[in-house]
């Protein structure tokens, strides 16, 4: 029994590593390509077919670069931060159902697990900002923490709305509960709030206050180079994947769809959300912190609360 468990863990970890790296390569390429097209450029064209291997080349460059820690940096935290940022991904990927059977590990509270682990990314960002002894880094790190205040409560309220509708915290159960209609159509307001929240959660533009390259050089990863930087990079794109996967499970019926096999439907839906985030990034300018907090507290919170209460009342009747 023990051996089987170990084998199970190894196989799922390898699978998740594969997903994380292939996803990063694809999404970075998609992002650069979309950014180029939206600005009447071609984007990467040279490495591979239409530059599809560009990310791989960049990755090799990053891996071969030296990791330089600043003189007065807290070296332990400085090294720890990218690890804290990246490692939770491997656990957070575990309960994500690519089909009704294709998932690494099913837990009763998969949704809570993923959301809780998603928060660790912010801890990694804060550690990076604090540990790198750089004013821009520190500002970026604290901004990321301030950002939690804006999105976490509305995010949890929308998630709770879905949970009381599906009657389960298990991602698989939630997806199965949408056999007839997707929750995106039943709960359009929750859907929109959740989309805003995942952009906030993954520190993506227009809410990339922690990075804010025009204000803070590069924010929390100003001092990072080489592999440590690429770990932050990987983490960002993997959190995007996880957040999109949650959105797929909660609002678009997970893997369910006609004709195509289940995992393909799942990945297609995830990439729909990923493309949406890329689209946002190259359309909207970055908001100010007060504007972000205003959005979180004055718009997202009341709307999600009202939506939650109405859903609860309707379900109780």
């Amino acid at each position: 029994m023990k051996d089987i468990n170990l084998l199970h863990i190894i196989i799922s970890l390898l699978g998740i590593m594969g997903i994380v790296s292939v996803n990063a390569v694809l999404v970075v390429w998609l992002e650069r390509k979309a950014a180029g097209r939206m600005q009447f450029r071609h984007g990467p064209m040279e490495v591979g077919f239409h530059g599809i291997l560009q990310t791989l080349a960049d990755g090799i460059k990053l891996v071969s670069k030296q990791l330089v820690a600043p003189d007065h940096a807290d070296t332990a935290l400085f090294i720890l931060a990218p690890i804290v940022s990246l490692v939770p991904i491997f656990v957070a990927m575990m309960p994500i159902p690519f089909s009704s059977t294709l998932l690494a590990h099913e837990t009763e509270t998969g949704l809570l697990l993923v959301i809780a682990l998603g928060l660790l990314n912010t801890l990694g960002i804060l550690l990076a900002g604090w540990g790198s002894d750089n004013k821009y880094g520190l500002l970026g790190g604290t901004r990321a923490v301030g950002q939690i205040l804006a999105y976490k409560i509305p995010l949890l309220l929308t998630v709770l709305t879905i949970v009381i509708m599906a009657g389960s915290f298990s991602l698989r159960e939630i997806a199965l509960a949408q056999h007839g209609t997707w929750y995106a159509f039943v709960q359009p307001i929750a859907f929109l709030i959740y989309i805003v929240c995942i952009v906030l959660e993954t520190n993506r533009s227009p809410f990339d206050m922690a990075e804010a390259e025009s204000e803070l050089v590069a924010g929390f990863h100003t001092e990072y180079s080489g592999m440590a930087f690429s770990m932050f990079f990987l983490a960002e794109y993997s959190y995007m994947f996880v957040a999109s996967a949650l959105a797929t499970v909660m609002f678009l019926g997970g893997w369910q769809g006609p004709l195509l096999p289940a995992p393909i439907w799942f990945v297609l839906k995830v990439y729909f959300f990923l493309f949406l985030m890329i689209w946002f990034r190259w359309t909207f300018p970055r908001v100010r912190i007060d504007q972000m907090l205003m959005l979180g507290w004055k718009v997202l919170l009341p709307l999600s609360l009202i939506n939650f209460l109405i859903t609860a009342v309707v379900l109780a009747l």
């Binding site: 979309a34 180029g36 097209r37 939206m38 600005q39 009447f40 450029r41 071609h42 064209m45 929109l192 689209w279 946002f280 190259w282 359309t283 909207f284 718009v299 709307l303």
Partner: protein
Amino acid sequence: MITNYMHEIVKGTGSLLAGMKVTIKAMFTRSHTVQWPRQHLVLPERFRGHIELVPAKETGFPKCFACGNCARNCPSKCITVKGKKPEGAKKKAPTIFLLDFTKCSLCGLCVESCPVKALSFSKEYSLAGPSKQVYSNMDLLTELASPFSSLVKQEKSNG
């Protein structure tokens, strides 16, 4: 007040969607980038590159008969022409035709003053060289035969 609040939200969402419409439209329009050197710009008729010698249609040799009008008219004195009569020919043929492109201001007086229209502006715009000498001493006679000449390129693309 609450209607005002809802109105703000709806209006804001609408403006965001309008922005997204702009970018998605841009995404599916043609890219303006020209992928040099695989693609080349289509230059306008009156583009002025460095001058080049026009070959006669029948022979392929330059039309120029080394009268020196261009060199005399050049305000920057950047053209050097020398020619001599080949055995049994009526007209002279240029033996040396040098252009100092570093001094040329592309005024076009040489092209205008040529009595037989033996000079024209080339459409060569991708000019880069390892040293200044490449452009201070351009031999237009070899240029005509060199594979980098836009005239030869045109011929190649025609044929």
